[in-house]
Symmetry: C2
Subunit: 109 residues, 2 copies
DNA sequence: ATATATTATCGTAATATTGCAATGAAACAA
DNA sequence: TTGTTTCATTGCAATATTACGATAATATAT
């Protein structure tokens, strides 16, 4: 069906999977890494940096923006995209809670 | 196209996105959380715990197993699934490197 | 006004993902 | 053997994702 049954899961589980889905494409990982690296960015840079077509990059940026992980300011004819620090930090806490679960030693495998 | 152009990205970027994709569905998040919680598990438990049909759970388990995040031992008629601790730890390091990037303060937004 | 530059949106094609009913495979019990 | 239990696999339908050409929208420059 291609449709996740989100209503049967907790808000936390849905939130984790939504953030994870955003990182589930190497282009978005590359975009975020580049935004961290230069800390100020316009989309044109990304198109030449990443190697995908401009509409494709624009679409990936839109997804990251909808999730709140980045924000963009219009500056003349171009748009300046950056990491949204507060939301990134918040996301990191949620993901860390999931990734850093303790593993006890009485495993059967 | 639905096809990610993995060849234009680094191994690290592809690895991050592959792990993230595994966490990109709430059912797999729930499965992993449950495996952490009880530390010994058979698939039957998960079907009643999660609420999806048995073939669906089995498919999600297969994906997690293929990535190496969990492993399964056959025990009579049932299969015992657990977290693969070494691989989980390794994945955590890779994800942390991505999530914990420093944000300098000369942002434009 | 016209041209240029930059980004967003639309439309479409190709592929991937999700979910489940039906069925298969393997181990065990009676 | 025959049935039961448990999990995997197959096959299919519905939806989502990815990518990009064409085009629109906006701001700036000449």
């Amino acid at each position: 069906m291609g449709l996740a049954k989100t209503e049967m899961f907790t808000d936390e589980q849905n939130k984790i999977s939504m953030f994870a889905k955003a990182f589930g494409h190497p282009a978005r990982v590359a975009i975020l890494q580049h935004l961290f690296k230069i800390d100020t960015c316009i989309c044109g840079d990304l198109v030449s940096e990443i190697g995908l077509a401009q509409p494709t990059i624009s679409q990936h940026l839109k997804e990251l923006k909808n999730l709140g992980l980045i924000k963009g300011n219009v500056e003349g004819t171009s748009v300046c995209y950056c990491i949204d620090k507060d939301n990134w930090s918040n996301m990191k806490d949620i993901m860390a809670q999931f990734l850093d679960q303790d593993i006890s030693s009485n495993s059967c495998c």
